[in-house]
Symmetry: C2
């Protein structure tokens, strides 16, 4: 291209703009190349000549040319003018909306994962979100001070990819707490801090199960755990739970590798596993060489008597993996949980966790360690136990008074949610959907079943709602039922 | 058991203890049952009689009995005294250390995951940890104030399991940042915030790949990505990268589903992919119906000219998934990354993410949104670019002056780490191990290869070390090499 035909006008630079001149020139030249106004093999003007024509410094032209060389629009030639590279045409105009839909396939596993049941919530919509603790009584001011103190002295201890299995202060604090509060016997080294209990379940599913292996899984059971096992390629074998009883007839399946239970407080029905059954289960696991996951998701909340100690404390064959969370004691969006591994799993776990990225921010871990060590957690827990006991009582009372025509609460003394069985003829998914439209959030019991015909019921969190919210929620539920009938 | 033979002495209660009397009584009775001092079928004394003998309130005895009934040690009988349940013997004495080692098997996948390469660091040990940004210049005071402000007004918006795919403020901030800084075109809805880039890679591996599928993966390449694909059951096909060139001869493999590249700044060699190759790669992906993961792990740091725009901006067939991280711009322990999904993947992703628990704490997300929106991130980035440019220059200089006998730095203008090739005859793992013993942290280049004979080299982060730390580190490395020779 001769100096005369070179499209100098298209390179008009705006000297009043905040964008540097070399940047403006780079962008303008790039557009000319992409549009093929400057076709492949064009030799651009020399830096000296273009600088003269545009009345800018020669360095400015060099900077723009260099960037185009870096990105592969121009080729430098020793001692000669740079050449435009022959690029396939680049479509420029399409916006994301108008883009051709490619619909590349997902993996079968991805497809499966995207079809698993999921229950979501939204702020200001807390009656009666299952498993949701109370936000209004959480000491956010204190939490904010603990965070700020740790963050302002963070420097490099809370900075890098260190302590992938957990901040040492938090592992110590958890081990001490579990010993006294939950009867769990472990050293801090056995604890792996994760981004929530679900992350722990997901990680365990992957390191303990291969595609085609079987899990003896509570039915009904926690759908998050079921989904994690299914995502890992496992088959679920039902461990039926009814009326507070775990039906412990071990399945014949040869590929049984893992047993999942919630013995402190069954999810979602709320019963507690008796000592006899716990010992029997340990024996079955040992005979079958199967691991046990003990998911202690809200064992801290028991309203008659004391919390029941965890099964892990009776396990002498290192087959129980205890999974815990701070989602119920503190709050879900904290995204902190942990697992207690048998010593035989300790080695190597850091490699597995580091692949998954399921390890938690060190700052939050350090602040939580302070929260526990300074006694704030125990104090908060004592206080919330009192508040929840009274909310639970009131919820029971109102359910009996207003919803007795449609449902019966399952018995149970533990947990921050309650399950009700629906009167025959009512479909729980329809009720839950109708309730959600009225801003009442509860989950259908049927989503906790993966085999045969599910019982119809509602899983309801009572803990996040004070008396007036509970009353409003229950009356809205009554309206919902009346509308369903109509 | 008669009143006379009942072991009352073993129930001596300590009235000065802080433990409530009912708790003491419960623990003492439980021990007697576990030890079989109270054998199965023993009828315990009535609450009235035991209360009288122990000189405590009858309620106290009832509370202890109730707890034992809940836990399954005692059976209540209507109108009669409670009976000790016949339990299998519970081993009590074993401590975790003396426990029988069960060695239950891991899954093959678990075994594979635990054998993947992993490079760890520790605080106060930062010269020359690859990929580590600088801690001393991070505005922790400001960060602490942003956190504290969001935490103290948290209430329920930062509390529950909401916004699993990301806090709306952060998704908006990221979309705006990516548009101007990285040339990425996306709506906030396409962004999924994860617990770091690794979590994003792990999640993508699972939803895009089935066991047996193939990934065309940079060789050498980022070992974290390689491990995530292997953990998902995929086979790696080498996409050779040499001297800043990506060797784009597509593999014949029929199960090719995914292509992984780091076009802005190759990991670990540091080159930038030219426009021609980017377009060719997009074409290959489209022909083969393969997804592309564009991992832009430190595209922000370019020291000659401007950052090169991301490939995602040229993708009109929705086949590019852009993965980013805040580990290098802010700090790794923050554990925040994100991916930009094509619209076709948006639906359903919330189900997949919720299974894995790889979603990040809302509080950190909200504070980061403020950090970006208030211009702190852009300011920090500008400042660190200047600091890193000078550190990089100094590192180059010292390497040339002191280590020229043993290594040559690869060329490249981007990134916060540098790769050096070792002189023939030196084994990089041995050098890295010897350096670690001297508190210098670097990773062997060979760990980034999964096929054939790896080149020997060292991957070194220069960004976290100021002039004096760099000098100390380089001199220590010289000692290390001299010792290796000896």
């Amino acid at each position: 291209m001769s100096r005369r035909t070179f499209p100098l006008d298209a390179l008009a630079l705006d000297r009043t703009s905040r964008a540097p001149l070399h940047r403006q020139l780079y962008l303008a030249l790039k557009t000319l190349i992409q549009e093929r106004t400057l076709p492949p093999e064009t030799a651009l003007p020399s830096t000296r000549s273009l600088a003269h024509d545009l009345r800018i410094a020669r360095n400015t032209v060099s900077a723009a040319y260099d960037q185009l060389v870096t990105e592969g629009y121009l080729a430098n030639r020793a001692g000669a003018r740079p050449l435009v590279i022959d690029l396939p045409a680049v479509p420029l105009a399409a916006s994301p909306g108008s883009a051709r839909e490619a619909h590349y396939p997902l993996s079968c596993r991805g497809d499966l994962m995207m079809r698993q049941p999921f229950h979501y919530g939204s702020p200001g919509h807390m009656a009666f979100h299952p498993g949701m603790p109370d936000a209004s009584n959480f000491p956010f001011g204190l939490w904010s001070r603990l965070l700020a103190r740790r963050a302002s002295f963070a420097r490099d201890t809370l900075f890098g990819t260190y302590n992938v299995t957990g901040h040492p202060d938090l592992r110590n604090a958890i081990a001490a707490y579990l010993k006294t509060a939950r009867g769990v016997r472990c050293s801090p080294e056995q604890i792996v801090v994760t981004t929530g209990a679900q992350a722990g379940l997901d990680l365990l599913a992957r390191i303990l199960l291969d595609p085609g292996d079987s899990v003896w899984m509570e039915e009904p059971g926690y759908y998050g755990a079921q989904s994690a096992f299914i995502a890992a390629g496992a088959r679920l074998l039902p461990l039926a739970v009814e009326g507070g009883d775990w039906q412990l007839d071990p399945p014949a399946d040869k590929r049984l590798r893992l047993i999942y239970v919630t013995p402190s407080c069954h999810h979602p029905l709320g019963g507690t596993m008796r000592m006899e059954q716990r010992l029997r289960l340990l024996e079955i696991a040992e005979n079958r060489k199967a691991w046990i996951i003990e998911d202690d998701f809200d064992g801290e909340y028991r309203f008659q008597g004391q919390p029941v100690p965890a099964m892990q404390g009776f396990d002498h064959a290192q087959r129980v993996i205890y999974v815990g969370t701070f989602a119920k004691i503190l709050f879900p969006a904290l995204r902190l949980g942990f697992m207690v591994l048998p010593p035989s799993l300790q080695e190597g776990i850091v490699h597995a966790v580091s692949i998954t990225g399921q390890f938690a921010p060190l700052l939050l871990q350090a602040a939580l360690a302070d929260f526990i060590d300074q006694g704030h957690m125990a104090r908060h827990l004592r206080r919330m136990r009192r508040i929840y006991a009274s909310r639970r009582h009131y919820f029971h009372e109102l359910c009996g008074a207003h919803l007795g025509d449609w449902l019966n609460l399952a018995s149970g003394d533990a947990g921050i949610q309650l399950t009700a069985f629906l009167r025959e003829g009512l479909a729980d998914t329809a009720v839950a959907e109708a309730a959600r439209r009225r801003n009442v959030n509860l989950s259908p019991l049927s989503m906790h079943y993966r085999h045969g015909a599910p019982r119809q019921g509602l899983v309801m969190g009572y803990a996040a709602s004070d008396a007036s919210a509970t009353r409003r929620g229950i009356l809205t539920l009554r309206e919902t039922f009346e509308a369903c009938r109509a």
